[in-house]
Amino acid sequence: MDNKAEQAVIERQPSKPRPKPAVVLSEHIVEIVSDSGEGAQRCGQSFGAIAARSGNGIWTVEIIPAEIQPPHRSVAGASGNRVRFASGPVTNGGNEADLVVAFNEQVLLSRLHADEIKPGGIILMESKWRNDRNAGIAASYAQVVEEIRTRGFRVYEVPMEVECLKLVPDPRKGKNMFVLGMLCGIYSLDEGLARAQVARIFGKKDQKIIDANIELLDAGRSWAETNLDLRFTVPAKRATEAQVVMNGNTALALGVVASGMEVCAMYPITPATSTSHYLSNIFEKVGCVVHQAEDEIAACAFAIGASYAGKCAVTITSGPGLSLKQEALGLAVMAEIPLVVIDVQRGGPSTGLPTKVEQGDLMAAIFGGHGDAPKVVMAPSTIEDCFYSVITARKIAETFNMVVMLLSDASLATAQQPFPRPSFREDWLAPPVNQSPVPEDAKPYDWDPRTGIATRFIPGQPNGMHCLTGLAHDRDSHVAYDPEINEEGLLNRSRKLAALQTTLRLPPLCGGDSGEMLLIGWGSTLGAIEEAVGILRAQGIAASSLHLKFLQPMASGIGEVMKRFTHVMSIENNWNDPLSDPLITPENRRYSSLALLLRSRYLVDIDCWGNARGQPLKPTAIVAAVRSKLGKE
């Protein structure tokens, strides 16, 4: 970032009179959608950043086209950003959008089809299509506008390119900054902050470009102030502590750095890869390495090798990669090599929905390998959690010599949210590799009879020579097929989960301690579920929620909590069979993953609600599901 340029911008700030008073809102959801490459993503991100810097709580969601190079003006090609911003903290992408800026009517349709726009919501349309030379396009545009007006949306047609043409030769390029200005005007965001943001974006380019874009920004704002009857303000309060804003994948990458892991072995796959991209940029600076292996199996084996040699390692992947790694993970479990596995879940099965969210990999994480292969499975539920979970995962991995799986997902991956700037602690890091001699009589698998934990020997440690193996083995790591020895190994590997379990504390409930409905969730759905609980309670329904961070082992006490509620329901962003289907019965229904696990453990008739539509769950949908379950539709 070029600080000089930014400085200059702030100085040139004109002192215009403030526009007329605005409607005060506690929050709004804004979407900007365009063809891929038209800059709606950047516009949305910048808008979110400005709001965050103003002191608003924000949560941004990327609207990602399904295809690399989708055709122009296509429903499948909608690209952009959702920004939910509020007076207080925001924990999820929310329900339908209040205001949408669409660069053409097709990308708007994609949001309408997905039911992502609030009935009666505000829609700002690029108006140039009305007079398009291609009659089909003009007709399509007119028809859509007509239709949405009829359906009760508040439509404003905005001559975006026409206005931009007054300032720049290629209006398609500057349009997004014009829109950004327009939005800043509508939402009364500070001009200085907005200009500083533009300067930040183009910081590396020359001043001319910055100036041109600031002109577009200002033009957008003026146009909105002059032509639109939309004036809102979402009061903001600057945080008293420093905040960082980033998405979940960046938080994971920074977590890897902060955890002291030195090796990341990966193979590219969406949506996990951007974690590795970020890491690739900085990891070498701290003397560490990102290795792009020839495939996921090699990546996993490479990480295992590094970790065996004392450098705890992470391998990062998404669903299909997780499936491929199952055999190698079994080796790490059997040989008790610490390993952190990050799985940024996406829609499955198979190649499925590569860019879309799903919490579909929980069962594969727990049960995926052949034989009994106990692993620790955790799930971060906020962006901040993505950062800290990696540090915790590395510690557990090395304390218990276990595989620790971290289940993030496509929603956390690209969502941005501010959280308190972490302050570095040296104890986050791994201790230096132990190279001291091993006591003469020590054994490589000297399982503690209570916890199952053994102190492993690391290459370089004198006296520690032994041959690690994925075969059944005794305390000397000698291959052994005796029934007792096999059982001893199984017991100790399983015991470690129990030992970890005794150290876990159940997270506090959200809502009340007892009541009509307990919702249980895990991972990225935290914000939506807790928001739903808030709404339900405001509606007089005694709902609460419990959000699990550890899925295997699970903290004790869940059974006690459940007893205090009339109903229990898991809320998950994955598949469950609908009981409404004629062939589905309570007996053959396939439950959501966590519901299945909890039912089995606690023998409580836990229902589940959720879906695998490639979209984050919405608070209002959760509310509706709960009301329906309670017969209070």
């Binding site: 420093a242 920074l254 090699a298």
Partner: protein, 329 residues
């Protein structure tokens, strides 16, 4: 040279490892006459002669009869899963340049299930010694054809004889970018096996040694003709390559002077079908190693981590007073 010698002497004085120091307390479980035994012996002799500290020596393998070797070495051993010895070894080496890494792999392990890793390991050219125990059969699982099995080979999965020409691990390896050391040995000429392993060990980069290995259990007589008739072995010699002892030279008269930098000839030698070439086919010490290229300028320290985290956080921080600190705080 004399400096090396004295360094070596010092190490010998300090530690003075005997052959038995590289023998684990487990008796090898290979069949009588199995070629793996000779390979194990050669490795142990090499370790002894190089006075490698057992705790700094890591033997990585996959699954197969041959992959049991690490259990019999007194060193750190990693007897992993089928086909994945090479990526594991790469992981071991990437941040532990102080460790000497050996990889033991079978023909099935390396050229069948592990083929992708094999190709890429050659390209990474990390500093390690790879021993392909090529008995041309699946030993451990009791006689199934492997990619290197001779055509017509009867086995449990090819009861009427395998139908394809065998894969030649040498020609494939030589075709991979960054290949830096390729040799062939046979288990039944222990002196040459040892000499080749020694050259391989001293090569900086990945040295790939294919060892034709007898499996009397399932491939009885496979190499009898060659064992009986030394003239069927073509020994590759060169000033920069193998230099034969007078004894070996007397028995193995079919010799060829081959410059290990001559890729064209190496490919031609690799393709020889009626004789078994033994020696160093290719050796280019100038090929860079991935572990060197990725070594990083500086080791990881808490201070470094703190600095980098601060820099990264700075880029995305919203300060309470909006006054972004210009320099580091």
């Amino acid at each position: 040279m004399s400096e090396n010698l004295s360094a070596c002497m010092m190490r010998m004085v300090e530690t003075d490892y005997a052959l038995s120091d590289y023998q684990s307390d487990i008796a090898p479980r290979w069949c009588v006459g199995c070629g793996d035994t000779a390979i194990l012996t050669a490795m142990q002799k090499l370790c002894r002669d190089e006075q490698l500290a057992p705790e700094k020596t890591v033997c990585v393998s996959g699954i197969g009869c041959s992959s049991r070797l690490p259990h019999y070495m007194n060193a750190y051993g990693f007897h992993g899963i089928h086909g994945r010895a090479l990526p594991v070894a790469e992981g071991v080496k990437i941040r532990r340049p102080d460790l000497d890494v050996f990889v033991t792999t079978g023909d099935g392990d390396c050229t069948s299930i592990g083929a992708a890793h094999w190709i890429h390991a050659i390209r990474y050219n990390m500093n390690m010694t790879v021993l392909l125990h090529d008995n041309q059969i699946y030993g451990l699982t009791k006689k199934q054809a492997s990619p290197t099995s001779p055509i017509g080979q009867k086995s449990n999965t090819t009861p009427f004889g395998s139908v394809l020409l065998p894969l030649n691990p040498l020609t494939v390896t030589l075709g991979v970018a960054n290949v830096s050391f390729v040799a062939q040995a046979v288990d039944w000429i222990p002196d040459l096996l040892y000499d080749i392993l020694k050259k391989a060990f001293h090569h900086r980069g990945l040295s790939f040694v294919r060892i034709l290995q007898r499996c009397p259990e399932f491939m009885q007589h496979r190499f009898d003709d060659y064992v009986r008739d030394p003239s069927k072995m073509r020994i590759l010699t060169h000033g920069n390559g193998l230099r034969l002892s007078p004894e070996v030279s007397r028995v193995y008269k079919n010799q060829e002077t081959h410059d290990p930098l001559d890729m064209g000839r190496a490919l031609a030698i690799a393709a020889i079908a009626d004789e078994i070439p033994v020696g160093i086919l290719y050796n280019d010490p100038s090929v860079p190693c991935y572990d060197d290229l990725r070594a990083g300028e500086r080791p990881s320290t808490p201070a470094l981590v703190e600095t980098v985290l601060r820099e990264e956080f700075d880029k995305v921080t919203i300060w309470p007073d909006d006054a972004e600190p210009v320099a580091a705080e």
